[in-house]
Each structure stands twice: as C-alpha cells, then as structure tokens.
Symmetry: C2
Subunit: 346 residues, 2 copies
Amino acid sequence: MEAITIKDIAKALNLSTSTVSRALRDSYEINVETKRLVLEYATKMDYRPNPIAQGLKENRSRAIAVIVPEIANNFFSEAITGIEDVANAMGYDVVIFQSHESYEKEVSNVRNVVARRVDGLLISISNQTKDVSHLSDLHERGFPLVFFDRVSDDIDTYKVVADNFSGAFKATDHLLSTGKKRIAHITSSAGLYITKERLSGYKAALEKHEIPFDANLVHYCVNFGYKEMEGIIESILSVDPMPDAIFTASDRLALACFEILLTRGIRCPEDLALIGFTNLKVAHLLSPALTTVTQPAFEIGQTAVELLIDLIEKKKRMSSTFMIKLPTELVVRASSGSKVPGFGGS
Amino acid sequence: MEAITIKDIAKALNLSTSTVSRALRDSYEINVETKRLVLEYATKMDYRPNPIAQGLKENRSRAIAVIVPEIANNFFSEAITGIEDVANAMGYDVVIFQSHESYEKEVSNVRNVVARRVDGLLISISNQTKDVSHLSDLHERGFPLVFFDRVSDDIDTYKVVADNFSGAFKATDHLLSTGKKRIAHITSSAGLYITKERLSGYKAALEKHEIPFDANLVHYCVNFGYKEMEGIIESILSVDPMPDAIFTASDRLALACFEILLTRGIRCPEDLALIGFTNLKVAHLLSPALTTVTQPAFEIGQTAVELLIDLIEKKKRMSSTFMIKLPTELVVRASSGSKVPGFGGS
DNA sequence: TTGTAAGCGTTATCAT
DNA sequence: ATGATAACGCTTACAA
C-alpha cells in the first residue's frame, strides 16, 4: 500500500528531493557517487516513480486509450494485444473502452478519455457512428488521434487498416483459379469504405480471369440479421445459373452464411465453395472449404500505436490523412493437421 | 487539449478555487446561489475534474487493474466486458494487462499496477505461476485484491469462479444419460484447483449412474500442445474397450481434440461423442456433437469487480478466503446428426 | 458562507 | 554539485 517516494529516499540518504530526482533521472551535473548511492537505495527499496504525480507535473498520464466496438471479438482483441505489446514496451499503459456499437457510449467514452488526460487515443468507430464531431473536436485541439480498422473519412490523421482491396482480390482470384465461374459476393453496407474496397478487389479478380461482372451476384447485408442472410442465401440459390461459390466479406457474414447453408444440407465444398474474409481462428475446423483471408490484426494494432506514440512524443499534428494498408493473407488449408488454435477457456 | 480547470472557473466567476471545489462537490455550507452559478458555468464549459490531480490528492486513481493471461480468449474478453460494465458504471476506469501465461510478465505487470497506484487489482493468474509472493505482498499491505477464474490457494481473499464441479457433473451426466458408458476425460494440469473440481464432478456423475471410475480414462494435458494431445487421443483410441465419449475440460482442449479426431476421420457423433467445457461461440457449428457447458464469464467479471470495489470503498480487508461459485449452463444442441451433415475429414 | 494556505509526488528553475 | 522553492489541479483544514 505505502509506496516509497522520492521524499523517503531523500530523508534516508540525507539529501534533498531534487538531488534524488536528478540522480534518478540521470540528469547532468550530479556527483557520480551520490548517483550511485541513490540508485542503489532506490533499487533496494524497489522505488517506482508515481506516474500520477509525474502526470500532474508534466500534464500527461503516460497512458493511451483505446476505444473499440467490442473486446470479445477476435479481430479487436488481437489488435489490442498488438497495441499493448508496443505501448508497454514504450512505457505507456493502455486503457480500454468499448462502445458496444453504440454512438452514445462512444461519445461518453471519448469524454471519459479526455477527463482521464490520456496522452492519445486509438479508435475504431462504432458502426452506428455517423457524426464524428466528438472526435474532430479533439483532433482540432491537437489531441493525438489515430484510427484503425473502422476509420472515419471526415478526419485527417493516421488511419491503419487491412488492405481490403488486395484481400478481396486474393480471395476471388483463389476461387476462380480453382475453377469456379460464378461467384456470389455477400458484403456489408454499400456505403462503407471497406465495402467499396472489397468490391473493387472482387471486380479486379473477375477482370483478370475475363469474367464479366454481374451486379446481381452482389448482396449487401446491412443488419447482419439471420433473417436477412436467409433471404440473401435464398436468392443466391434460386438464381439461374446458380453461383458455384460465395465470397463473404467478414467473420460474421461467413459464419451466418455457413450456418444457413448447413441447415439446408449444403455441404462445402462439394456443392458450393465458400470463402471467408475472416479472423476466425477455428474457420478451418468448420469446413475445409472455408478458405480465408486473414487480416493482420496484431500488426494493425502495433502500427497504429507506433504512429500514435510518435504523434505524442514529437508533438506532431496531422493535418492530412495518411492511410496505411497492411497486407492480408490468403490461408488455403492443406489436409495436414495444423496447429491448435489459440482459443480456450481456462 | 487545454482542459478547463477549477482555477479557470474561479477566475471567471471571481471566486476562490476552494469555493468552486465545494460547489462542485456539493459540499456542506455553500450558498445555494453560488453553487448554482458554479454548476451552471461548469456545465457550460464542460468542466471535468482532472482525475490525476484528484488521485494525487486522495492517493487513489479511480482506476482498477485487470491482469489476465490473454485477452484474445473468449472467456477472458467476456469477463473483461463484465468488469468494464460494472466498473465504468461506478466511475472507475479499467486498465488491462496481459501476462501471456508468463510468470515474469505477470510479476512485471503487478509492479506496474503498484506504480500506477490503481485502487485495486483483479487477477486471473498465469498457468506458469507457482509462487504468488508478488501478490501476497500486495495483499498483506492491504491492497484490494480479488481473484477470478484462475485463483490462488495461497492467498485469502475473494475468489470468483465458475461452478466447475456442477459443470463437470452436468456434462458427464448428459453423456451418460444419452447411453454412453465409457467416458474419457481430458483435462488440464492435475494440480490445479479447477482440475480437481472438474474431476470430482465427473466422478460424481459416474457414481450416480453406477459406473466405476477408471483412472486410465483420465488424461492430463499440461502444455496444451498439439503433439501432447495427439498422444492422448492415440491412447484413448487404442485402449480396449475403446471409450465411446470424451469429456474435455476447456475450449482449447475441446478444439484440439476435435481437430485431431477430424484428421483421423472420426466423425462425431457417429463414432464418438465429444463434449466441451467451453465458451466458444461457434461450437454448434463445429459439430452437433459438441454439446457444451458454458461458464458465465460476463457474470464472473461483474461479480469480481463488485467485490473489489466493495473492498476499495469500504476499505475492508479480507483475511480469509471467500469463494463465489457461479452456475454453469449445459447447452444441448438440437437433434444431432439428422439434418446437419457431418464434416468430411481432410 | 467564503477565502487562504498547505499538501499530495514530482520536476524545473533558481540560488548557493 | 546540491538545495530550496514553485508549480501542476485538486481537496480540505483553518481563518476570516
């Protein structure tokens, strides 16, 4: 409970607090012997500077905040691991908030972040968030801000995302290379940046294989609802000629799609190929047909926090968008036993 | 960037900082009109007290720390969501650390927690941790400490866990009730408290069904390695008579087991029943055979943090263990094997 | 009812 | 090379 302070050291060594502080901070102009003494005693007593006091003094907290929609989501939890990894190594703690896909919660989280005087904010915005004025306020006041994954078009700063274009290209190209001809594409809301990127990748692959684009094969799933997906599957299965493969644009879409296909007795890959754009670790257990394109969640987190800390420490201000796209990876399963996924209870 | 301080309010209203502080804190003896004025102005300017300064003054930080082995793990991320849920509602922020199952990292995290002057610690210890002196030190100094899930026997405080006994009982009982006779049990390290509890539940169910306990059917998986699990499966399949069901004690074990069985062309549930003790959300997609027992991760988090905040705010000190066991739930999937096809191996 | 001042732990700016 | 002191924002005796 009672942590040792610089004062205690000063008293014990008959020095002034400033001398001790200097010794600890390895300041210029200090007697080497005094320094040794202080350092020795500090180590012995396991002295740790109080970051609260330091923060008050320096007007910083040595903590950064992360706001994500949901922590219980493989992509975000991996990204956070990447964030924590780099941040801790650089002496920053990470404070995590969840918006639970609620705009109100996100705004309240941002307020909290400001009140906490964290040194910077990494955010992946909720899918309900249209108005980003709670963030542009911060940004305009010079508060270090970096987006990752779910980025906003309306604020000019660093944005770290997966390369959705090439990911979609790889996925589609893979299906076409294995002989598929008519590939349905189930994706998220038409307006989203990532949706557009993925559609472009899909189209580019079709072009490469000289297959004409058919708009009827593209399905936008807006609410991620089971009913909605059922309707989509229905129309995919009833169109003539029937598609011989499906490229889904996310974990949730891939899972919902897979589940509905299963209940209709459709087995991948004999009847229909299915490819997910996913971070789901157990995808290969669901079906060997579930070839996936994984997003580099961990690296996205690492990169984002590196940029953020750079902004913080160099007191830089971004006045234009700088988008970093990290490569995705096509994972084609072999029949050999792969490694045990990193899921698990306790 | 420039947050408004109590000083700014005082200056603007021609008051002293203490008066403003009193108005804000709804202190005794303050002119109701002055208070109104201050509150009004504070609201208008969106004043937020600086928790760093408050913390320095009150020697607290209004933050609690959580140390878990891994955040990218469904159980822990759900527990953290529960923790955050309650903590935020009570005005606390949550600072998260991962031990990555490393004893050294855990110790370093604990140091950091102390340095941060968080008000309390929730911890689920790493599976490498044998010596808990880094925690008993804290506890003895009166630092609020609550264990959840991975608890230590050596420290007397609140411990919040799933009811592993009844969970294991339900799982085993379910298998036996569906006609299985020889149930292998794959579980974690023999020394762990949860392992013992689960084994007891397993035995109790056998007893209920008047089936003798066979120690040869119990397999301890220590490293969670693929190789290790392969050996275990090997020995399960080669014993005579062969078991007709497997009860695995965690997500990771269930998945590893499932994967290896698949590569050997063993389809559940025709050839062998498999039951997981799991929080994996997609278990039902893996196989209808994967009946599961879910742990109330979210509630465990909520309960743990409630107890911790109680310790903090009442300045209570625990001097004996108080174990809270939250109920698990048996999730039996719809009629197995009928509509949903099995998975063709490889 | 309000103001003054001290103090929380640390660092920076002066002196010495 | 070292010490005294002020300051960060806030709370709280104590004074007025």
